[in-house]
Symmetry: C2
Subunit: 583 residues, 2 copies
Amino acid sequence: MSNLFLRTLREDPADAELPGHKLLVRAGYIRRAAPGVYTWLPLGLKVLRNVETIVREEMEAIGAQELSFPALLPREPYEATNRWDEYGPNLFRLQDRKGVDMLLGPTHEEMFTITVKDMFSSYKDLPTTLFQIQTKYRDEARPRAGLLRGREFIMKDSYSFDHTKQGLEESYAKHRGAYVKIFDRLGFEYVVVHADSGAMGGSASEEFLAVSRHGEDTFVRSPGGFAANVEAVVVPQAEPVEVSVGPAHIEDTPETPTIETLVAALNANHPRDDGREWTAADTLKNVIVMLVHPDGTREPLAIGVPGDREVDAKRLEAQVAPADVEAFEEKDFAAYPMLAKGYIGPGVLGEEKASGIRYLLDPSIAEGSAWVTGADVSGKHVIDLVHGRDFTAGGTIQAARIKEGDPAPDGSGPLTLARGIEMGHIFQLGTKYAEALGLKVLDENGKLVTVTMGSYGIGVSRAVAAIAEDNLDDKGLIWPRHIAPFDVHVVATGKDAAVFEKAEQVVADLESAGLGVLFDDRPKVSPGVKFKDAELIGVPTIVVLGRGLSDGTIEVKDRRSGTSRDVAVDEVAAEVLSEVRGA
Amino acid sequence: MSNLFLRTLREDPADAELPGHKLLVRAGYIRRAAPGVYTWLPLGLKVLRNVETIVREEMEAIGAQELSFPALLPREPYEATNRWDEYGPNLFRLQDRKGVDMLLGPTHEEMFTITVKDMFSSYKDLPTTLFQIQTKYRDEARPRAGLLRGREFIMKDSYSFDHTKQGLEESYAKHRGAYVKIFDRLGFEYVVVHADSGAMGGSASEEFLAVSRHGEDTFVRSPGGFAANVEAVVVPQAEPVEVSVGPAHIEDTPETPTIETLVAALNANHPRDDGREWTAADTLKNVIVMLVHPDGTREPLAIGVPGDREVDAKRLEAQVAPADVEAFEEKDFAAYPMLAKGYIGPGVLGEEKASGIRYLLDPSIAEGSAWVTGADVSGKHVIDLVHGRDFTAGGTIQAARIKEGDPAPDGSGPLTLARGIEMGHIFQLGTKYAEALGLKVLDENGKLVTVTMGSYGIGVSRAVAAIAEDNLDDKGLIWPRHIAPFDVHVVATGKDAAVFEKAEQVVADLESAGLGVLFDDRPKVSPGVKFKDAELIGVPTIVVLGRGLSDGTIEVKDRRSGTSRDVAVDEVAAEVLSEVRGA
């Protein structure tokens, strides 16, 4: 440590929010070079390499072959798949000295596809699976939490190539197996969730999430083991019910532009015949958003949800992609004078109604059910408006927020919600890229068939962050053994030269047994500072040489449990070795 | 090979010029993604990793510590050192979504300097040496020869940090030693040349060149072992000579705008008194170029060289850097009407003469020597113009082309010229970057001193190309053992299942002994194609199983020598193992 390029910091960095990010900076693993762009210092690089090794080993174990594409890429293939535009401002674009458009690869589907196309022509060449561990670029609007959401980051991306759907399913299953092994080895709590609507069979897209309260993604779990991203939860269409109310009637409800004020006014001025209280769940809220399509055209969309639900931005975005969602603003209302803000109802919504705005309903809204909703006049609502009798919509949309306690799709009971960080994604991509770029092979009958692909990613630098976030305490990092930058941290304390000599010998013994040793040989640093640094850095086993030496013992500490024990000097190397190897 | 992501090509790729580049593409090591941007296919990636490992091992052996900077960098540090501008069109610049200027790092002096500044503050922290093996970007005007001059390429760059000149010299010497070991291991012919004028002591800047007739750099060697880039050759100032001619006299020399026409006219119409023939060496040629400074200002420069020499663009560029050199064009002549094109002489050159153009002479032009040169009037030259008596210049410049047979600076005899490819550069950078970015430490006396740096680079991807260019024959590549993608290539021939079974067993034996084996198990490919592919791919040892098996023998071929021998079946594994290990 007297030579190591490392300076630990006592203070948290100003730009770090999450505890693991703070510690990675304080303990000298990473350093910010620009927003969302990080330098790997020597300790960090060792950790990164350990993660890469785990990923590489499991990829090779399923027969995936490694190659490496450039990060600086030509525009043409991304133009062919429309992603040059679709990526919007997330893509780093640049021009070379001749004015030729280029980009920094955000992901490499196109390059893999055209390379396989260049080299393969027969079904006999398939299946094949290729991977790379490579630097990628996305110009995130909000780079966040250090390595968790960077603008330059390292990913393992892989792609499988098959000529039949069954082949794709087999390739996908192999990858899924490898991912489970990888995430089991990485050392943080994770969950595998369904990541799309299941329309392709339920396993066509799954995400590996690190369970973390700092996560940006919300996922649901059922008692029966079902787990899914909120985007992938499919709320079933409610069964029709018998109409139980009389004709719809418009009522004055002055100054009730919110659900809360509306429910209060209903209970005060329009009590129900049967005496039940009105609740938010009796109201139909119509939310209007503006979709921005990749070609720049803007289209309003109205969504009807029960008043006790919100529209969930992520679920909505997943439904309307590749369009972006923006707020419906004052100037938009000005363009649609038939919309009475705060009192919008189905009377003007729908492509054949006055507004011409497409109107979709939450699937929980049963045919035959009655609602209180806007009467399209300021200060008025309509009561007992029945779905199917008095109004219809252009279809349904899975966009309402999922709530804790909602029934699980697998019928096993109520859903629970948790937060996670997307660490891996496996996806039966199908023929999208192969079609756009003309990747076909001759099949058994000599017929040209389009190749079907799987796409599989792991955030490698992000995994370093996730491991850090899930392996720490108030003193510092606590690396899992196979991830730690060193196997053991030897601390020599005091001023006695004999201690340092003995420590050197212990280090030599450990190193000759093949262990990676971090040796704190700093001559003028106090034991207290050395212990603090060791705890901050987080090597799992800490060996302390000091006063105990006169009794013939050396202290061996376990960083995670905090326990320590005295070991006879001659037995230290063997003891540490068995501890490290046993892990 | 039935699964390997590899298709060998029979035809040379259209865009490849050099034999090694052609073979790297044909044998499936690399593939072009864009001009100067390459994909590493599985075989190529293995070779690249082997080169990286050699570089990393030798860097670590001198105590250098590895870290990794991003490629996407902020503008500010490069602004502080003026390189944002100095790099000109060679720098890939881009803006992020917020319009912030960024760049793709062409080299990382700035980032290393500010990171050390952030972390270190005392001379006790020094010396330290840091390195990275990382992807770099330069927007070359003429990307060339595949990996030899790419726009995205992999470099090892390292930097030493010292607080004394002596420390820098020691760090430099350590690096030089490591480089010699690296280049000895890489397996191509190389030479270490002086790369600057030697003003800082002769060893302040050295280049490691791969000796290659395809090289872009010319270097010189003396019989005494001196070697230098042409840019670094210092022609000594010629000793003054006694004036041996009468007064200068202007003569009519119509239509003699070139040295050749002038010499012919002199011999025809102005014979010398002593009967000697005029030669080009008797004439003084004045060449005018336009310097373009980094701030965009343009300044003409006149260079006087003997008529039998050219101005060497590389030598001139090295002298005037960071200015660029452009041709002096017609429009420039129009701005300087006193310049008689083809008949320019010292009469109008120099800062105090009519043109005001700075005028520098080649050092071979002795004081007292007499010349025929332009009389600044079209069709007239002046004869017997004596340097020091009749004209002077503002100084000398090392810009004339070095010729085979010129005397060596070390006095050991005539120089020979050869061509090479720059593979490594070690350089005593001094305080340039530390001063620009404020990197200072407290010295032994508590005084702030500016840190002095060394800068050291190796073209890692370029090394793959140089190895290929120097290890090939008309059949394919011939990898040095420690660079080869595999240790041994096992070829099973024929249709006999027993051959393939035996081959599998041999492969298993070799792999369990720790060797990397490429196994040609393709069932329906002819022996001829398999042999051709093996020779093209260039694994150093080729094991062929075929007809010999019935006699109990297997053929072991040496790819480089082309020799082969029959080895008893049971001894093949041991034989190959000892061959590989013995290398």
